[in-house]
């Protein structure tokens, strides 16, 4: 009996370590590398970026969020007609997004990361490329958070926190519209539009259901005023405690 206890005392710390080991995925085969170029088929190359299934299931949601945001082919979202179509494409190529969408705490973890994104956090003297890359990073996290599978899993408190955050960040972006343009503003408004879609009565009266739905579904808009109105109505919903 003493031997068994002694054995457990020796083994248990190792077991706990194994349980708590941080599983990470930093894309061992990077685009442009020798191993990458050895595969000629485009879709097979994208498969090289996938997280092996046993690792994927062991990864914490926190680590999975990091891997998704660092997905090397995130840039492909700009090659489609709209950012949702772009996201649909990279989601169909990378298993990390599919797994993240299935995690009940995906939204919560994303909100934590998103809180650290400051839309005015770029140097006004920086080059266009530096500012553009900065804006793209915000676009990446926002289009991910705007997925209904992720938004639907937020609890009311986290949802309220996110809506407050989106309004604040939108206004900061709006003050820098010269840099963000409608493309940089749209994803913040999209999160709001999708999460508050049932409560956007005034925006629907003013712009019509069809225009609001077109924006929610495929980010179609003719007028930045529509985005402004969504944010304004979000503020009202929050202040009325609805």
């Amino acid at each position: 009996m003493k031997k068994i206890i002694l054995f457990l005392l020796i083994v248990m710390p190792f077991f706990s370590f194994a349980q708590n080991e941080k599983v990470t995925w930093d894309y061992p085969i990077k685009p442009g590398s020798k191993e990458w170029l050895a595969v000629s088929d485009f879709s097979k190359r994208l498969e090289l970026l996938n997280i092996p299934a046993p690792l994927l299931k062991k990864m914490s949601t926190e680590e999975l969020v990091k891997s998704c945001l660092n997905y090397p082919e995130y840039r492909l979202i700009f090659t489609r007609n709209d950012l949702q179509s772009g996201y649909n494409f990279i989601r169909s190529s990378f298993n990390g997004f599919v797994e993240l969408e299935s995690r009940p705490d995906a939204g919560k973890e994303l909100v934590k990361v998103y809180a650290g994104y400051k839309p005015d956090g770029f140097d006004l003297n920086a080059t266009d490329l530096e500012i553009g890359n900065f804006i793209c990073k915000i676009t990446y996290i926002e289009i991910l958070m705007a997925q209904t599978e992720i938004l639907n899993k937020l609890n009311p408190a986290d949802s309220k926190e996110l809506m407050t955050m989106c309004s604040q960040k939108y206004k900061v972006k709006k003050d820098r519209q010269k840099y963000y343009g409608g493309i940089g503003l749209q994803t913040t408004a999209l999160i709001i539009a999708r999460q508050q879609s049932k409560k956007l009565i005034n925006a629907k009266i003013k712009h019509g259901d069809q225009k609001i739905n077109a924006f929610i579904n495929s980010l179609t808009f003719d007028d930045i005023g529509l985005l402004d109105d969504l944010v304004m109505e979000n503020d009202k919903i929050l202040s009325d405690g609805l």
Binding site: L129, G132, I135, C136, G181, G182, I183, Q186
Partner: protein, 152 residues
């Protein structure tokens, strides 16, 4: 006096019609070769975004050792559909983002519905290709398998 009023009222009406026509045009429509109206949307890009897209596209070509050739600068003034069906034919490239559907209704397909283009199984040089499943358009070249198109 009555005559003056009549002329004035009609002048106002004509000016109103002209203004409506100009406004409608600036709000986003173009014409197919046979005169059907197609809706287009405005550009919302900025210099920093263009710089980021240019860099990403150039890096993508390197990462994939792609033989894609850059034909023009990045822009969100027009998309693949507008490039293939409008810009290549000499149409305006300013604020001309052309969606396949508008409010769920046909928009792009007007080009080949009772219009100048007909569907064919074999594409020769400088013809249009519409990839329905991918929501994409391109223009063929003399080389089989090579097309000109716009990313995004």
């Amino acid at each position: 006096m009555k005559t003056n009023n009549y002329i004035f009222r009609n002048l106002i009406f004509i000016l109103f019609l002209l203004l409506t026509a100009i406004t409608a045009n600036s709000q986003g429509t173009i014409q197919t070769p046979m005169g059907q109206t197609v809706s287009v949307r405005n550009n919302w890009d900025t210099a920093p975004l263009i710089a980021a897209w240019e860099s990403a596209a150039a890096q993508w070509i390197i990462d994939h050792t792609s033989d894609a050739q850059k034909k023009g600068p990045a822009t969100s003034h027009y998309n693949c559909h507008s490039y293939a069906w409008n810009v290549v034919e000499g149409g305006s490239s300013s604020d001309k983002w052309l969606d396949q559907l508008v409010d769920g209704n046909s928009n792009l397909s007007k080009y080949w519905t009772n219009d100048a283009y007909t569907s064919t199984q074999y594409a020769a040089d400088h013809e249009k290709v519409f990839y329905g499943a991918d929501d994409h358009s391109a223009v063929t070249t003399a080389t089989t398998g090579k097309v000109w198109s716009k990313w995004g």
